[in-house]
Each structure stands twice: as C-alpha cells, then as structure tokens.
C-alpha cells in the first residue's frame, strides 16, 4: 500500500465530503451474520470534530472529479483544486480497517459525477457489494443516489446499503435553477420516488417471506443548503413537511451555507455561517416529527421566519398564551409535549409518575424539565405559580434575561449583518 498516496487521497476526498451534514447511523437493524464483521444498531457517534459535529461514519467522496458546475459546491468543474479518486478496493480497505478499530459505525459514500450518472452510481454500488459479499461486512452503509441513475442500479444499491439519499441541494426549484442551472429537481425526485415505492414493496414482501432480503432498512434522507438563496423558513419547513409526508423520508438535513467560493449569485466570502438559524430549523423539524406539531403552527404567513432569540416551541407558546397555563397533573400527554422546556422523555415520565402521586415543582425539577421556561406555562401540586398576567413579550424578556443562552452573543453578531 502506498501510504502517502492514500493519505493524500483521504485528505482531499474527506475534505470535499464534509459539507454533507448527514451523520446518522441509526435506524437500521442489520444483524451480524455468520460470525462476520459488524452490525448496524442504534447509532453511535464515535468522536466529534472541533466544530462540534458528530463523527459516526467514514464520510468520503469516491472522487471529486465532477462534470457539473454548481455554484455552491467546492468540487465544481471550474474550481481550481486538487482532484483525486479512490479505487473500489481502497475504499473497502479503509472502511474495514477503520471499522475493526471501532473508529466508525460504517461508510458514507458520495461522489462527484464523472462520465455520467450510471457510471458513477455503479462504482458506489460496487463498493457496497464488495463489502457485503466478499467481506461479510454488516456495518452501516449510506450511499448517495446519483440523480439520473437507472432504476436497476438504484435497486441494487438498496440491497446493499442501509440508507440512500439524494440531496435536493436548494429548498426550492428556483434556487436550484439559479445556482445549479445544469441540474433539475425532477432528476432528484424521480429516484427518490422509485426508492420510496421499492421500500414499501420490499417491506410488504418481508412481512410475507421472512427470508426476503432487507432493502435500505434505514430509509432515505435528503439535505438542503440554508442561507445561500433567499428562501424563508416557512418555505424550507413546508418543503420538509411535504417530503416527510410524500416520500416517507427519515430525515431532512439543513446545512448552513459555508462560503467557500466567490460568486455574485452567492453570499460574500466573509459572511458568517448561519448556525443559529440552522439550529432553529432542526428544532422546528423535531417539533414536527416528535412533538406532533403541524408545520403551519410553527411558521405561517404572519410568521415566515423562525425567531433566532428563542426556540420555536417557546415562540409558538408565546403566540398561543390562550392555551396556557395547563395543569401538569391532569393535562394530556400531547399538551404536555407542547410546554416549552419539557422534552419527550420528561413528558412521558411525568405522565407515568403522576399515576402514583401529584407532582410538585421540586419533583418536576428533579425529572429534568427546564423550569426557567416551563414555569410560565404550567401549574402543579403547589399553591405557588405565576399569577401575574404577563404578556408574551414580557415572558420572552424574562426568559432571555435569566438565561445565559449559548446564542445571545452569536445572535447579536448575526443581527448586525442585516
């Protein structure tokens, strides 16, 4: 093995892959087979980079050679950078050796598009196939679906990969047209739709025949870049909602645009990465998926942008003070989930624990709810509760004044930009 050459390739192709934020390694139930190597289970973050992002998978491009010229992408054709390409065997060896040392949960393989879609997709499938069939490797594999790849290749990919994803890149079709005029959204939606139907079909099959092969057990995901084009949070979240419902996606990832290229269609190079906005979008995404919120409750015509100062649940509660306060000892689980400062686990514990006794502030605090936010919205087994008839603005100010938000410093910097 030529160590220097492999090291250089790894550096180039990991660097080029890092703007894809998908890191999940959960959702698959692939078992270790015939005393082989690995399994895919609940998802483990093996380390974190200095920017605080989870490292779960060996995330690399097969090659950063690309025939496209998308404005937001470091690997675009006209960008003067070093190019490299792995061989199938090199990716397999790296994956196996990193996996055996417990560095990673598996492989995330993406690629620049060289020659054409099918040619590229075929290489990715070869890697997965070799890992599964020749090395009896049962760890996690996430493959990018290349827009425009044939159904036959997509089907084969689903047999070896745990998750497949196609990045929509821009939240709207207009955004895509502006920054990646050679691509079109339909080319991304067609394979996504094909996989959705295939996954449903195979799941049905699996119910009937236990021996039927598993097919992309961790489903599909996608990613959109935030802040490169002028979409509102309402447009972004409505798009997510539509894809969650229509395409049964497991995740939509939001990637705050990191200015890497100078282009008059894009934010200037010294623009800050919209990290707070990205965080608020994820919080809103969680509200839709785990807290039974409807997208229109979070963003709508009157509130097209998420509040950067406070989280979207608190923001919703302040707009809907008529629904509060609620009595923690009698309210429905669904309503408890809507209280700012109470998470899914705490809500479930509250409902379980109140069957034994009525809960007071001390006990709620012990259960782990964030009292600084929750106390304005609930009553419990205690004569003490917020009696003042506070306005939403006042509540927001009290909460902000008390909290040492990790974002306060950031958000003032961000606000200055506008």
């Amino acid at each position: 093995m030529n160590v220097d050459r492999i090291t250089e390739k790894l550096n180039i192709l990991a660097d080029a892959a890092k703007y894809d934020v998908s890191c999940a390694s959960s959702g698959s139930k692939r078992q270790n087979k015939d005393k082989g190597l690995g399994n895919a289970s609940n998802g483990i973050c093996h380390t974190y980079t200095e920017d605080g992002r989870c490292v779960s998978l060996l995330k690399i491009l097969f090659t950063n050679v690309c025939i496209y010229d998308c404005a937001y992408c470091v690997s675009r054709k006209t960008n003067d950078i070093k190019r490299a390409a792995f061989t199938v065997q090199e990716v397999v060896d790296l994956t196996i050796n990193f996996y055996r040392r417990n560095y990673i949960e598996g492989l995330f393989l993406s690629s620049g598009i060289f020659k054409d879609a099918d040619y590229t997709m075929e290489r990715l499938v070869q890697v997965a196939k070799k890992l599964r069939l020749e090395h009896n490797y049962n760890g996690y594999i996430h493959l990018k679906s290349i827009p425009g790849a044939s159904d036959e290749l997509m089907r084969e990919a689903g047999l070896y990969a745990d998750r497949l994803s196609i990045n929509l890149e821009m939240p709207t079709e207009e955004g895509l047209k502006l920054l990646a005029p050679e691509k079109n959204r339909q080319d991304m939606i067609t394979p996504m739709n094909f996989l959705k139907d295939e996954i449903i079909l195979r799941t049905e099959e699996k119910k009937l025949f236990k021996k039927a092969p598993i097919f992309a057990p961790a489903g599909q995901s996608t990613q959109v870049i935030i802040g490169a084009t002028p979409e509102t949070d309402q447009q972004i979240l409505q798009m997510s909602d539509q894809f969650y419902k229509g395409f049964k996606l497991k995740r939509v990832y939001y990637s705050g645009y990191v200015p890497v290229l100078s282009d008059n269609r894009l934010p200037a190079l010294n623009t800050a990465v919209p990290m707070v906005r990205e965080n608020r979008l994820y919080q809103a995404d969680w509200l839709m998926r785990f807290y039974h919120f409807n997208v229109n409750e979070i963003v709508n015509q009157d509130n097209p942008l998420l509040d950067l100062d406070i989280d979207p649940k608190l923001s919703w509660a302040i707009r809907n003070l008529q629904s509060f306060p609620i009595d923690i000892n009698t309210a429905d689980l669904r309503m408890i989930l809507r209280v700012p400062g109470i998470g899914v686990q705490s809500a479930q514990k509250i409902v379980a624990a109140r069957a034994f006794r009525k809960l007071n502030w001390e006990q709620l605090k012990k259960l782990g709810i964030a009292m600084n936010r929750a106390r304005y919205f609930i009553t419990c087994n205690s004569p003490q509760f917020e009696r003042r008839d506070l306005t939403g603005t006042a509540i927001k100010q009290y909460i902000l004044a008390e909290s040492q938000s990790k974002y306060i410093k950031n958000s003032t910097v961000q606000l200055n930009l506008f």
Partner: protein
C-alpha cells in the same frame, strides 16, 4: 442508627436487606468495607453474605419488579458509585413496602435517584461503545485500554461480542485492573500483570499496519473539520478531556 458492613457484592447487599427485615431495623446506614477497619462504629453489624438469604430477597424482587427493573437495579449496584448503597437499599425497601410496582414513581426520591444513577451508567456505557479504540497486535488480537468513571465493563459484552464476532479482542479497564477477552467463541474476564510487561515490548507487539491506520484516522479527523464552524465548547461537551488519552485522534 445501625451501620451494616457488607462485602460489596450484590448478594451481600441483598443479604443486608434480609437482615434489615429480620431485625426490624428502621434507621440504617450500609457501607461496603472490611470488618476490622470499621469496628469503631457503635451499633455496627457485620453482614455475612449468605446465598440462601440473598436468593429469598431476589425472589421477592422478581415478584415486585419487571425483569427490566431488576436489571436496572443490578446495573446501578455494579457500577460501584461512591455512597449510593443507602439509596439502593432505600429503593429496595420501598419496592417491598409498596403494594404495587413502583418503578415509574419518579416522585419518590429513591425511584428518582435510581433513575439518575441508571442514566449516568448508561451514558458511560454508551461512551465506552463510542470511545474504545482498538489497536491491532501482531497476533491479530485487537487491544483497547479504558478508564471509565463507573464499572461498566460487564455491560459492554453484548455489544462488542455481536459486533466484532470475527476478530479476537481485549478491552482492559486499567483503573479497576481487569479486562474482557474474546477468543472468537466466548468472552472471559482476565487480568494482566502490567508490572512485568516491558513497555518496549508492548509497542513492538503492534501489527505493522497499526501505525498506518492510526495516522490515516488522525488525518481524516483533521480533514473533516470545518474551521468556519469552530465550536470548542460543544466539542468539549461531547468529548470530555478525561477521555482524550485513550482516543487515537486526540493523542
């Protein structure tokens, strides 16, 4: 107040519970230790671990707790967290004194505390599943040293045995001086005598490719960082400094 001194085993703890009920003790303090060190206590009882008594208490627990609940209690005790034995005994007494299953009665301080202990233990177990870094030795055994905050090694067997079924491995808790060895069929507890091992021999025992992959991993770790998003606080919260010395990418 009566002080009960026991041997630190789970059976010992259950025997102590038996004695509490047998002697109708109300105010008790339980602690692990050697009898001769602690005879200075007034009103101290030495608990002699007795399997027949322990199994009677166990039988009672099985009737009152779910299998999962019992597992949680066992894991909480095995973690050997300093000063928690009174809470565990408090929990067991609450289990026996209540007519129904109280596993989810989080308003009770013992139930709440057990839930906190279990959460801490699970987090440490999960961290070990993430932070263990194997190094390949010349004989193709993969070796890893750990120093977890709590005694979680026994909780790791299932995960590592089902994942690394086709390689021999050792996970060694150097703080507690014992390890796990998987020989391609089963796991067993082992202890290594490091005093007699020459450090020079240890390094020469690594496989030739080991250093190559460690370097590749360090390179990868640097390459995937996005400097424009630097966030050292978040980084430290996820990877506390005390784990760094065994993390290949942080050494």
């Amino acid at each position: 107040m009566t002080t009960l001194i026991y041997d630190g085993t789970f059976e010992g703890l259950l025997t102590a519970v038996f004695e509490i009920y047998e002697h109708r003790l109300t105010h008790v303090h339980i602690q692990k230790g050697e009898w001769h060190n602690t005879v200075l206590f007034e009103n101290a009882i030495k608990v002699v671990t007795e399997n027949s008594r322990a199994s009677r208490v166990m039988k009672g627990l099985k009737q009152k707790l779910s299998a999962q609940g019992l597992q949680r209690l066992y894991a909480a005790h095995m973690a050997e967290m300093e000063g928690e034995d009174d809470n565990l005994v408090g929990y067991i007494r609450y289990v026996f004194d209540s007519p129904q299953n109280i596993e989810e009665d989080y308003g009770n301080k013992y139930v709440m505390r057990l839930s906190e202990i279990v959460r801490m233990v699970r987090r440490e177990k999960h961290r070990m599943e993430a932070f263990i870094r194997f190094q390949e030795l010349k004989d193709q055994t993969f070796y890893s040293a750990i120093e977890p905050d709590f005694n979680v090694l026994p909780l790791l067997i299932k995960h590592f045995k089902s994942r690394y079924a086709d390689q021999k491995w050792i996970i060694y808790d150097i703080r507690r001086s014992y390890g796990l060895y998987y020989d391609l069929h089963d796991t067993q507890y082992i202890s290594l005598d490091f005093a007699t091992v020459n450090p020079g021999n240890v390094i020469s025992a690594y496989d030739d490719n080991e250093a190559v992959y460690q370097d590749l991993w360090r390179n990868y770790f640097v390459s995937i960082n996005i400097p424009a998003r630097k966030n050292p606080k978040l980084h430290l919260r996820h990877v506390p400094k005390r784990y760094w010395k065994h993390l290949t990418e942080k050494i």
